[in-house]
């Protein structure tokens, strides 16, 4: 396999989306590294950025430019070596600008799928709709003489089905980045028996060059990441419904969100995470996964209700959070939605009462941002759970069962054959979800 040859013409489908824009950035940076090698000076490289939303393309290019600038400022030591032969480029600022110009010159933004007809490698990051993906793959495959490889960023659709339906002869695999792709270290790699060694080896090399941690997932809908997240989210939603006997639903949502963030020492609470990913996206992924689940119903009527009311979460173009289960001001949660009434209630109106009901957070518990930086994360997390066991307060008890359920989900992913090991599940949660400790551990069940 000639690695560089495969990079000569890439297309990113859905390039202006949240995931697509990050994948475009990483692809363009990777291609540039090869383009700038002296031995490749006669080769021609192209990265097509295809998205149906024409109006999003200028913003996409501005985003890419800003990100390439950041990347260049971080690797100027290396860039000076790469541009050593350019006598006209002397100062760091000149070299950084030249690099940005070179990367940007690779990228061809457009709205037409035909751009992919010349590609050797296609990244797919369109919406999570199996039929759409199949249609696009089939059309490109039928019109592209290069027998291109298809790397799909799907987080839930089984790859085997895509391969068969689009007649791709094993030239497709799951290369699932985490959000945001430029920052999260994880790539979930989903191969199918029809893949040959060449495509898998290339995928591993590419992930390595992009400085990603690869976790292999078997081809079962939802894979490891969503396999955990969807079940964890459903547990959280049901936990809120259970608490409804004690308090109004919006207060229960606040309580569960607080437990999953502060008590479980996670970067965000479960409802904030649903909002971040998108209420609509989470609902959609559950719908994709559900038909493949036996003895299990991955579905939440509460998500249907919110979706019907037009509450979708996700982010605005500037990265700020749209309203979902929660309402945000400058990144802080200020109001909570009551899905039954559709009204948002200010947190200040009930937070003190609910916090008192939950009971205090033991002194052993560190905020996530402190815990995640510690070299002894597991030991410190274990101490927190030990404290919960001794405390006997409501919040601590709910946190314990929540963590035990999260562990059960992890073990199930292994026993269902989705993950190769519990370590792989933990790696996905640590690197893809930024958790400070893996869900499969001893300290939550002691």
């Amino acid at each position: 396999m000639d690695y560089t040859e495969k990079l000569t013409n890439i297309t990113v489908l859905g390039a202006a989306g949240k995931m697509g824009s990050g994948i475009l950035l990483l692809s363009a940076l990777e291609v540039a590294d090869h383009m700038l090698k002296p031995e490749n000076k006669d080769k021609h490289f192209v990265v097509n950025a295809v998205d149906v939303t024409s109006s999003a393309l200028p913003g996409l290019m501005a985003y890419i430019r800003a990100q390439v600038l950041k990347a260049a400022e971080k690797k100027t030591v290396l860039l000076r070596k790469m541009y050593a032969g350019r006598k006209d480029l002397i100062e760091n600022s000149e070299i950084i600008e030249a690099y940005i110009a070179d990367v940007m010159s690779l990228i061809r933004p457009g709205t037409r799928i035909e751009a992919a007809y010349d590609s050797t490698l296609i990244f797919e990051a369109v919406s999570e709709n199996a039929d759409l993906k199949i249609r696009l793959f089939r059309q490109i495959n039928e019109n592209n003489p290069n027998k291109p490889w298809f790397f799909t960023n799907t987080s839930s659709v089984p790859i085997g089905g895509l391969n068969e339906s689009a007649a791709l002869e094993g030239r497709v695999l799951g290369f699932h980045f985490y959000n945001p792709p430029a920052i999260q270290k994880l790539v979930e790699l989903i191969t199918i028996p029809e893949n040959n060694n060449e495509i898998t080896e290339f995928a591993l090399q590419l992930a390595k060059n992009m400085h990603k941690v690869v976790v292999h997932s078997n081809d079962i809908a939802g894979f490891i990441g969503n396999g955990h997240f969807m079940r964890d989210a459903l547990y959280g939603i049901n936990e809120a419904l259970r608490l409804k006997s004690e308090m109004p639903l919006h207060e229960a949502i606040y309580a569960v969100n607080r437990i999953t963030q502060d008590f479980l020492m996670r970067p965000m609470g479960i409802f904030q995470l649903i909002d971040y990913v998108g209420v609509d996206v989470v609902r959609f992924i559950m719908n994709v996964m559900n038909p493949y689940m036996s003895n299990e119903e991955l579905h939440s009527p509460m998500l249907d209700v919110l979706f019907a009311k037009g509450v979708k979460g996700g982010q605005y173009a500037d990265g700020s959070q749209k309203n979902g289960f929660l309402k945000y001001e400058k990144g802080k949660v200020v109001e909570v939605c009551n899905p039954e009434t559709g009204e948002y209630v200010p947190v200040a109106a009930f937070a003190a009462r609910v916090d008192a009901w939950l009971g205090e957070l033991p002194a052993e518990v560190l905020p996530w941002k402190n815990l995640v930086k510690s070299p002894e994360k597991d030991a410190l997390a274990a101490k927190a759970f030990e404290a919960y066991r001794n405390l006997g307060k409501r919040g601590a008890a709910i946190a314990l069962s929540y963590a035990r359920n999260s562990r059960e989900i992890g073990l199930k992913l292994v026993s269902d054959g989705v993950a190769r090991s519990a370590d792989d599940v933990n790696t996905v949660m640590l690197t893809g979800f930024f958790h400070a400790y893996g869900p499969v551990n001893d300290f939550v069940v002691k």
Partner: protein, 412 residues
């Protein structure tokens, strides 16, 4: 140069050295510019000498405001500091990181020539206007531009990393790195005693362990880590240079003044490469001039403010000054002789690594520190000045050992 008449420095003032490390520093927020720092430092000195009417001339040392702040012509800012300075003679001088030292030399010469009895000398740099990677381009102007292309991304750290590499060959890497870490520890411990120091709030428990962090050639330099480097700083310093008549005019008692008793000033060919990377020959030359004109030896010094733009520069400085024999600077530092309780306390408020390095201000800052120490005004940083060693020395270096100003001060 030996002054042919009495020259004193009085009424020193340092602003805070602002930049990373200071609690109030936020790179994303708008910050004070040149005007703020010039005004604060200038007025800080003027208020101690009875006002601007006492001043005959002004001089501003600055390196690269023309690029950091897109502002040249700093001499004409004096009238902004105080309206009574309008229309008085004022100049700005530049000699890279020795610009502050050159401001002092220029002021001293004015007083010696008789054109002024009181000179207001300022030094200033406001560098946090650009990210470090671009600041490196600007600071590289202290070297020969024809050699910039071959230099490293972080140009001066790269130059001194090469010196560190050569020094490793000479004395052994382990010992040298240990000395660097000790130098860093001394710098931070001293800075913690000085409220204007950039590292005043530094709380790191094991400073030497931090200083020993392995350098990262991929992202920085081969032989130096970030703790081996001086800070990126915004700040200004001011001091008044006066004759005996000027002293009287300002109403300042001689015990509140330091006397300038020896001056060394040397500039070497910027286009030439150092003959020996392990020696600071221009520093050695200027210091020898200063000590000889003062009629003293290094053994007579109570304290030294030396130009530790990098730990390696601090250690090579100990050898160039003559405090340690050649190749023994590392041992001298490791043995604790330069610590505040050592044989000769060096950089008692943290130096360029601990206090900060607003490049054009540094030479003046060094003089202010010596003035504070020799007149008992150093607050928590105060060291003991032995009666038989009433001298302090400043060594201010521009570029890679190209322009050097060394001044010997005597306690009155």
């Amino acid at each position: 140069m030996k002054p042919h008449k009495k020259i004193y420095m009085i009424a020193g003032y340092n602003t805070v050295s602002m930049g990373t490390g200071r609690k109030e520093f936020n790179p994303k927020k708008e910050r004070p510019g040149l005007e703020h720092y010039l005004k604060e430092a200038g007025q800080g000195t003027l208020s101690q000498i009875g006002g601007a009417a006492k001043v005959d001339e002004g001089v501003v040392g600055n390196f690269m405001a023309a690029r950091f702040n897109k502002q040249a012509h700093l001499g004409a800012f004096l009238g902004m500091i105080d309206p009574q300075l309008r229309l008085k003679p004022s100049i700005s001088v530049e000699g890279a990181c020795a610009s502050g030292g050159l401001a002092l030399v220029s002021g001293i010469k004015s007083v010696l020539s008789g054109s002024a009895e009181v000179v207001l000398a300022l030094g200033i740099e406001v560098q946090n206007t650009v990210k470090a990677i671009y600041g490196a381009d600007i600071l590289a102007g202290a070297g020969w531009f024809q050699r910039r292309k071959d230099g490293q991304a972080y140009f001066f750290p790269g130059q001194f990393s090469d010196r560190a590499g050569a020094y490793f060959e000479k004395v052994g890497r382990e010992k040298a790195r240990k000395a660097f870490a000790r130098w860093y520890r001394n710098a931070i411990e001293n800075a913690r005693l000085c409220p204007t120091a950039q590292e005043f709030d530094n709380k790191t428990a094991d400073l030497e362990a931090q200083g020993l962090m392995e350098p990262s050639p991929r992202s920085f330099t081969d032989h130096l880590n970030v703790f081996d480097c001086s800070k990126v700083s915004d700040g200004a310093s001011a001091i008044a240079i006066v004759s005996e008549e000027g002293l009287t005019r300002c109403g300042v008692s001689v015990s509140d003044a330091v006397e300038v008793v020896g001056i060394g000033h040397a500039a070497d060919d910027i286009t030439a490469l150092p003959e020996d990377l392990t020696r600071l020959t221009t520093v050695a030359h200027a210091v020898k001039q200063a000590l000889t004109s003062a009629g003293i030896t290094p053994a007579d010094l109570a304290t030294v403010e030396t130009h530790d733009c990098f730990t390696i520069a601090g250690i090579l400085g100990m050898e160039a000054i003559g405090l340690a024999p050649e190749g023994k600077g590392a041992d001298f530092v490791i043995e604790g002789h330069t610590a505040r309780d050592g044989k000769i306390p060096v950089n008692t408020t943290g130096g360029l690594i601990g206090w900060g390095h607003p490049t054009g201000a540094t030479g003046v800052h060094q003089a202010v520190t010596i003035w504070e120490q020799l007149t008992g005004k150093a607050g928590n940083s105060q060291i003991n000045i032995p009666a038989d060693r009433p001298y302090g020395l400043t060594v201010n270096m521009g570029g890679d050992d190209r322009t050097v100003v060394a001044i010997v001060f005597k306690k009155n």
